[in-house]
């Protein structure tokens, strides 16, 4: 299987207020279509790791590869392009632009990419919204829909440029179990049907158990990889 994301010897320090070694020599990889969750206690560095993997945090040591291409050391402009084209994000808080319509929110990353015509992008965005079952909300303002719906809009937005990988920071952390299940099912479907890789940081053990692999972290180290088979016994 082809490696989509590969981290080699990632080290990260916080310098403020005192020098603190957050991530210690992290190395792992994610293959195409794999659904991976990262678990660990608060402060173990899992979110920090995710933001390094997402290319938004560039202050680290080690090498990062996305789709075989080294992204460590690229310029800010170039990293923004990579995020735009190859990575989709879903956060705990929904982070939609409140003044824009649902449809506009989904369309923005594609319009930034500028690879397709406006009408094509619009059609794609409607398709993604339909895939997530919220096409009927497309013309509402993003501030006017419910939390569960917002999270699905955020997923649609993450999908709009057909990225190689989707990253989530507690994407279900703020949702009730019903909406949580909906989001999980969507992720699972994307992983199986679209061969999309997913990397999700979560506290939710039930959610993590159903993913292909759990990476368990503690004190800035990866302490264990559980594959699906082992998870059954957890």
């Amino acid at each position: 299987m082809k490696n989509i994301l590969e981290a080699k010897n990632i080290n990260k320090y916080f310098r403020n207020p005192v020098l603190f070694h957050v991530l210690k020599d992290i190395s792992f990889s994610i293959t195409e279509g794999e659904f991976v969750s990262i678990m660990g206690k608060s402060g173990c560095g899992k979110s920090t790791l995710l933001y390094i993997l997402s290319t938004m945090d560039t202050d680290y040591e080690g090498d990062l590869y996305l789709g075989g291409e080294k992204i460590t050391g690229q310029s800010g402009e170039e990293l923004a392009r990579i995020r735009n084209e190859q990575i989709g994000f879903v956060f705990q808080f929904h982070y939609l632009l409140p003044e824009f319509s649902v449809l506009d929110n989904v369309m923005l990353p594609a319009r930034k990419l500028g690879r397709k015509s406006f009408s094509q992008i619009r059609k794609d965005a409607m398709n993604k919204l339909e895939l997530l079952g919220i096409a009927d909300q497309a013309h509402k303002k993003a501030s006017q829909i419910s939390g569960g719906q917002k999270q699905r809009v955020a997923i649609a937005r993450a999908l709009i440029n057909d990225p190689k990988i989707i990253m989530g920071d507690e994407p279900t952390g703020n949702l009730d179990s019903k909406n949580s299940n909906i989001v999980f099912d969507i992720f699972k479907k994307l992983s199986l049907e679209e061969k999309l890789s997913l990397l999700v940081v979560t506290h939710d053990l039930d959610f993590a158990k159903r993913t292909d692999r759990i990476i368990e972290m503690a004190d800035g180290l990866i302490i264990d990889h559980h594959s699906k088979m082992e998870e059954e016994s957890l």
């Binding site: 938004m56 995020r83 084209e85 956060f91 705990q92 632009l97 923005l108 319009r111 990419l113 500028g114």
Partner: protein, 420 residues
Amino acid sequence: MDRLRVILDITRTHLLARIKQSGIAALGVTFGIGAYIIMMSFMTGLNGLLDGLVLNRTPHIHMYNEIKPSANQPVDLYEAFTDQLNVVRSIKPKKSQLRIHNALPVIDYLEKDSRVKGVTPQVAAKVFYLAGSNELNGAVNGILPHKEDALYNFGDYILDGTPQDLVRDRNGILLGAGIAKKMSLSVGDRVQVSTTSGGIFPLKIVGIFQSGLAEIDNIQSYVNLKMAQQLMGEGNNYITDINVKLKDINIAPELSKTYAKQFEVTAIDINTANAQFETGTSIRNMITYAVSITLLIVAGFGIYNILNMLIYEKMNDIAILKATGFSGGDVRLIFISQALVIGFIGGLLGLVIGYGVSVLIDNAPFETEALPTVKTFPVNFNPMYYVVGIIFAMVSTFLAGYLPARKAQKIDPVEIIRGQ
């Protein structure tokens, strides 16, 4: 191109979402630019009028013979006394003529000078205006009316008549407004003028001359050059004053010295005669610019403030935009373009308001004794001020938007997202 459209769409949505704040920011610019246009138009209009008062009326170089004592007394020439201290008491001015020596050839010579725009000869005569048994002190200047009008807008100071009327009527007189009032005379009446030599001449009033300065209007009248020469009992080569208008006013001081030496006359240049006028103009201009720039700076701070607040409010949006692939440069462009849109719309509105008020001022009645032909306030509708105004608006809003936009560019999305 597409990239710009996305950014402009975001800009528009941001501005429309808080239309009140955007509107107030734009109004700040509107007032700044509007005030700039109004002040510039009005002040320069007024400056033009006041400068015109001086420049139009005053010859650049005025040549005449001054009665004065000789600078060098005969004793100075005597070699035996050269190293002595010579004191001459009770010096009297040398007897000389008021007429300019060789005036006609001098005028011919001057008119051929490429630096000279025009030359007008004048004859000054002391007279009495006779009203019944009263004699009013006065002065009459003989002029060439059409030339005076062409060079010094002489017609602007004539009520109820034109310089042409004087040309047409050899025995005509343009009577000073003060004299006309004192003697209750008006156009068409006759006035008798007696000269110092005793001759009495009846002259027909063809117009009233009003300069706006009472002491001049109470004394001064104008007749044809020939008539004045006749009053003085002199021939047509009797010229007491030569007025020169130059193409370039700045060479007047230098040239007047040359002429004074060359023709052995007294020559006064406009800068010496009206030293205060340039100072007034430049100070009025300075005040105009200072007030306009102050207004724009205040408007700029308003925009800076509003954009700064907007960026604090929009931290989340900025983080999302960056997370979904908008670069720092894109984010900066979003906020700078918001500032520029505010500046452009506000500035345009300012131009419209400035123009409107200028038209109002232009039509407001303004009566002044000094300029009988001016009926409304002078306004200068120079398109240059409108161009400068809109550029000013764009530049000041760009500067006001640049710092907040740079701050937005530097926001670290990870800090915002993790900070929740």
